[in-house]
């Protein structure tokens, strides 16, 4: 009877991954209130300060230089950029802590869970949080007139995809670094923030010099922003949409592969 596996242990498929999600939900239960408050306050601040405030200057006399009201122009971009920023934060220190301080992932690695499942579960958890956060964002945008049609609902999955395309390689970095997270400060200061400023969030990238446009094209955020804005206010061709999607998916697939590899190296050493 030595080789009969323990009854009911499933070692492939979605279920083992969802155990990791369940763990994170347990931990998150204690802090969900503050997380929720932040996820309401942040979009409120952006919408009021920039959408409404800046919008009043740009949309002078009922004239819309961008074709739609400014708040409708920036709302899908804010949604996408916020999703990416929060996902990057969630994939950085918390994952690093899971290896280094709390050592949760090392504990999981001693159970039937595989390193790839632990990695996937962790990323699924971040994705769920981002999707919920984006839904809240969208509701607040709608309350301030930032939306005009039903297709805007698609911005939630688009923002989540964009966020995870960027968060997966961050998770790989978090699983790799051994010392304090200085690398994260660099990433936030020199990648995340500039990306937010140069990815067509506040104005179309056609306003940028040529090199600036090239830079935007490389970032996953611009592709996500353009796609989200396209479904929210129209004016995006099917070909461009497919290119955006393919580019984001390529980042996601490569990022997940990288993260799984780094998780495996870290826990099996």
């Amino acid at each position: 009877m030595l080789d009969t596996p323990r009854r009911g242990v499933r070692t492939t498929g979605l279920r083992p991954r969802m155990r990791v999600v369940e763990y994170q939900m347990y931990v998150g239960r204690r802090i969900w209130r503050s997380v929720f408050v932040v996820s309401v306050l942040q979009p409120l601040a952006y919408v009021v300060a920039l959408g409404v405030g800046l919008g009043a200057i740009i949309d002078t006399g009922g004239h819309h230089p961008l074709g739609v009201s400014y708040i409708q122009f920036v709302a899908p971009a804010f949604l996408t950029a916020a999703a990416l920023q929060i996902a990057a934060a969630d994939a950085s220190y918390p994952i690093m802590a899971g290896f280094k301080w709390i050592r949760t992932f090392h504990g999981m690695a001693a159970t039937p869970l595989t390193p790839a499942q632990i990695c996937d579960g962790q990323l699924i958890f971040v994705a769920i949080r981002i999707a919920l956060n984006s839904a809240v964002y969208l509701a607040i945008m709608a309350a301030f007139g930032g939306t005009q049609r039903w297709a805007v609902l698609l911005t939630v999955p688009i923002a989540t995809l964009t966020a995870m395309a960027f968060a997966a390689p961050i998770a790989a970095l978090a699983a790799t670094i051994e010392r304090e997270g200085n690398a994260f400060n660099m990433v936030f200061r020199f990648v995340v923030t500039p990306m937010f400023l140069f990815s067509g969030t506040f104005y179309p990238i056609s306003e940028l010099p040529h090199w600036g446009q090239w830079l935007a094209w490389v970032t996953p955020l611009w592709h996500g922003t353009d796609l989200a804005r396209g479904v929210a206010i129209g004016g995006l061709g099917a070909g461009a949409a497919i290119v955006h999607l393919a580019y984001l998916l390529a980042w996601l697939v490569a990022g997940v592969a990288l993260a799984r590899w780094r998780f495996c190296v870290r826990v099996t050493r």
Binding site: L2, D3, P5, R6, G8, V9, R10, T11, R15, P16, R19, E22, Y23, Y26, V27, R30, I102, R103, T104, H106, G107, M108, A109, A110, T111, P112, L113, T114, V267, T268, R269
Partner: protein
């Protein structure tokens, strides 16, 4: 005679052919041959052979850096082996890692408890990783809280618990899946004597229930208390194997007389004492602060030392322990 350098290294058991389960030999739950682990150029485990039988309490005794944890992590199917063969529960860790891990209980050297969660939550969540259902876990968790003697703290966060309580929780957690083999990497290191005794009592109880225990330690008293059979490891190699009594009988004398001389005089005293010993089986060992006489009759050795005109500051006679075995085999003490 004065202490010899490790004169002979006990040969590891003769290599046995690999077989899934051979009923004629009793079913070895763990079988390792030429098991090796290297980190880059560095060899942490240098080709060791051992087998653990069902129901046995098997120990790895060795000092810091001997390669105990590296070995345990390979047995736990967490770290891949570099060379050799390893079979656990008749399976190959490379291809059946998750299935094997599903039937092991692991107490790692460093706790991996979630300090933000409660005692109960830690047990529950860990059971979920093994695919256990809520209904299955409910009674199991209560039983283990009881086993860990943490009933009063069941709904308290883990963070403020004492080291001993955390360790008991880690052990309780490792039992959540009713493991076939329990792996304990230094279960009591860093605990005060009282907490250690409570833990030993828990482990002894498991042993009585027939749980197969594999543990590492650098405490010889722990090894003597808990292990039916053990291997002594040093620098990635096994230098001796047997039951605690067998090892003591084979590598040490029945008694040890410890004579303490003023600082600086120990070596000279040992020189003189060595002359009066029976060269074949008895010997003297110089430590920085005392001389150890390995003899059949300790009291007589002390008396003879006085007859020789030596006057130690203090003397005591005790039985040989695994510590003496280790000193004999490696020339170093276990705890440094």
């Amino acid at each position: 005679m004065l202490r010899l350098l490790p004169s002979h290294v006990v040969a590891a058991p003769a290599p046995r052919p690999l077989a899934t389960v051979d009923p004629a030999r009793g079913d070895a739950l763990i079988r390792a041959e030429g098991l090796t682990k290297t980190f880059g150029e560095f060899t942490a485990v240098a080709g060791i052979d051992f087998a653990v039988e069902r129901g046995e309490a098997f120990g790895f005794l060795g000092p810091n850096g001997a390669g105990k944890s590296s070995t345990m992590r390979m047995i736990a199917c967490v770290a891949p082996i570099t060379a050799g063969t390893l079979q656990i529960l008749g399976m190959d860790p490379v291809t059946q890692g998750p299935t094997i891990r599903g039937r092991l209980g692991v107490v790692p050297q460093q706790d991996t408890l979630d300090l933000e969660l409660t005692v109960r939550e830690n047990l529950y969540i860990y059971g979920r990783y093994f695919g256990m259902s809520r209904a299955e876990l409910r009674p199991k968790v209560e039983e283990l809280i009881d086993f860990a003697q943490l009933t009063e703290r069941a709904d308290a966060k883990v963070e403020p618990l004492s080291g001993g309580m955390k360790r008991r929780l880690t052990i309780a957690r490792s039992l959540i899946n009713d493991p076939d083999i329990l792996l304990l990497d230094e279960p009591t290191t860093g605990l005060d004597p009282q907490a250690r005794h409570v833990l030993w009592d828990r482990l002894y109880r498991l042993k009585q229930q027939g749980v197969t225990l594999v543990l590492t330690t650098h405490y010889m008293d722990e090894a003597e208390q808990l292990c039916d059979r053990l291997v002594v490891m040093d620098s990635g190699r096994i230098v001796a194997e047997g039951s605690p009594l067998h090892l003591i009988g084979e590598h040490s004398t029945r008694e040890v007389a410890e004579l303490r001389f003023p600082p600086g005089e120990n070596a000279a005293a040992a020189e003189r004492l060595a002359g009066m010993l029976d060269g074949a089986s008895e010997r003297a060992e110089v430590l920085p602060d005392r001389v150890l006489l390995y003899v059949a009759d300790g009291e007589r050795a002390v008396a003879r030392a006085h007859e020789q005109g030596l006057s130690p500051v203090s003397s005591l006679v005790r039985r040989s322990t695994l510590e003496d075995v280790f000193l004999r085999l490696t020339g170093r003490s276990l705890v440094d």
